[in-house]
Symmetry: C2
Subunit: 422 residues, 2 copies
Amino acid sequence: MSEQESELLTKAELAVRARRSLGLMSTSQKNAALQAISGALIRRMDEIIIANDADMEAARRDDVQDYILDRLLLTPERVEDIASAVLEVVELPDPVGETIESRTVESGIIVDRRRVPLGLIGIIFESRPNVTVDISALCLKSGNCVILRGGKEAINSNKVLYDIVHSASVSEGMPVGWVQLIESTDRGVVGEMLSLRSHIDVVIPRGGKGLVSYVADNSRIPILETGYGVCHTYVHANADFEKASNIVINAKVRRPSICNALDSLLIDRSIAEAFLPDLARKLDRAGVELRVGTECSRIIGDGVAVLDLRDGDLDTEWNALRMAITLVDGLDEAIEHIQDHGSGHSEAIVTEDKLVGAIFLDEVDAAAVYLNASTQFTDGGEFGLGAEIGISTQKLHARGPMGLREMTTYKWVITGDGHVRA
Amino acid sequence: MSEQESELLTKAELAVRARRSLGLMSTSQKNAALQAISGALIRRMDEIIIANDADMEAARRDDVQDYILDRLLLTPERVEDIASAVLEVVELPDPVGETIESRTVESGIIVDRRRVPLGLIGIIFESRPNVTVDISALCLKSGNCVILRGGKEAINSNKVLYDIVHSASVSEGMPVGWVQLIESTDRGVVGEMLSLRSHIDVVIPRGGKGLVSYVADNSRIPILETGYGVCHTYVHANADFEKASNIVINAKVRRPSICNALDSLLIDRSIAEAFLPDLARKLDRAGVELRVGTECSRIIGDGVAVLDLRDGDLDTEWNALRMAITLVDGLDEAIEHIQDHGSGHSEAIVTEDKLVGAIFLDEVDAAAVYLNASTQFTDGGEFGLGAEIGISTQKLHARGPMGLREMTTYKWVITGDGHVRA
């Protein structure tokens, strides 16, 4: 057995041992632990910053890319934000123990469905130390034990944050070992986690497409896929141009790097001459690079610099101020295009025609479908779920934004009085 | 590309093409198709019986085991039962289109969660031709396209049953190709199905432990595991002996071959002398083979023949008139034993002590937990779900008996009027 495998197994066994008692903690016990974690983050700020400095220095030495450095960095303000986010979890309703339904069936037994934690969740994430705390807090509130495996660049920060989460929560009565941090930065440990069906109930990969695909291809444990989105907005012939223009710009420009940002714009050919030139100018002014075919290029005209649409552009999640534009002949072609090129994340139509809107909402198969709104709304907070574990891009268990409830399962609780089956 | 791969791909593409329109069929259209299927099964009875004769003859030639022959056999009465079961699906509520929740959130958008079909389901099952029809009917009612891959012994029966299901439903307006039967009996086709993430949304294995484990280990598609159960009944010190005896006998004897049947009986040491001898005699009379340790053997005494408990017996799903019996010292030890040896399927306690019962129901982590009732109740019909796709032994998506609703997912439907995210 390799060293990291023995680390993983030992820690998984400790977490499994804590599982039963964590699942039975009352809401007030769990909330007290969350408050203790939040307080300890502020109290131990200096330690966090010193550890993070070490991570940042090592990452700079290794010529890590700027956007990763930005995610890795912890400032006092960011630590305060993390501590506040933990307090927000205190305010969320506890999903555990809820009776989902209850009936007395013909045989006379009482059949209840009761919400319970999933058990032990494995989280594999990249070098964002805030995730260590966010996910721990959400798992704690939903009664789940958790094994964290973060990106190697954040290892010093993660060790301190983990120690804060564990010690503060245990001091408030949570079972020792309910949260575990894998310290080995060997890549092989991920493969080993994905085989540990005997211990881990669910694996959630949080990160880029590469990480998520790797986990989906290699896991022997049920997973919750998150994150990847090729999103469309379709401007129908009967769209209100001002609404359409605002929605498109917001869906692309507000935060271009997130998975619900617009990637491809579809416009009805019949309105392209009237709608596209003005929109293209606005997008250009906002710094958006436009990838278009010859017909769109001609319609947009000389005032705006565009690039030629290349193979694969219509299947690309840009995560940047860049988008493809293409023309379609009506609703059916738009839906076909979305089914062929979309990833089933967030898809929007802009139209004043209610029937057309209803058909689009019915027929497009995606986690979130929009009528006359920006796809950037796809978010647990915006949908009223409170904090978010991630956005599921699969169909089983949870679809779209996942909150605390999506971290639970249920059990059937049957009460009889000597009942036997006929 | 191998021949069976091309068969699979071609058929999966046809099913994907039917997916959008099947998902939009109204309840009455789907019910008319189900009625047509039921009628056609009776009308084409002779064809079914002739095809099944060919399967039975081939299976006998190949020295297939008796219990498989019994599952393979179709008699006119069994075909009538299959046709009636299809009519029962007509009566079940249609889960598709239900609005699960709806709220207007702070930003002003209306956020609905609406139930939709999963899409395209792949079913891998053994040589039980009734499954071809049962599953097709349940998928049709829940708006799902389906690819069926049955055991090779049933191939002739399955071809006729498939043709009946497809032609009768298409004649009532269901889209051509919504149901597909893989005719290749090559084992490699299963592996290829499990890689077809681009087409198939969910795979459900229906069959023995070997099949389910193979699918769980090899699938790159999300799966719903079914079927495997190592189930306990725990007789607590404060049990009513008559209830306990009835429950144990029912849980073992009523149908010993199903996954919710009792496998291991746990008895509190303090009541073993008073309770066990009489129970052992009753079980013996019912033809149950008892596997026990030396202490139990001594308590049972000479009147009843028992076998020695062997390594692994306490982790075995018997599927037969055979069970293990072991003694425990109280509730905690019983729960520990169940967590260590159970498969998380169905677990029961018999006790008149309400507090002890409540602790057991809370702490045992299983799909179904019972107080004073037989584990044989774990079944979609008995729990009030109507027909059953199978019993899930995983925690994600669905746990325990799965009915039509468990064959659906949801989408978020967002309605705005030009709303953009701040």
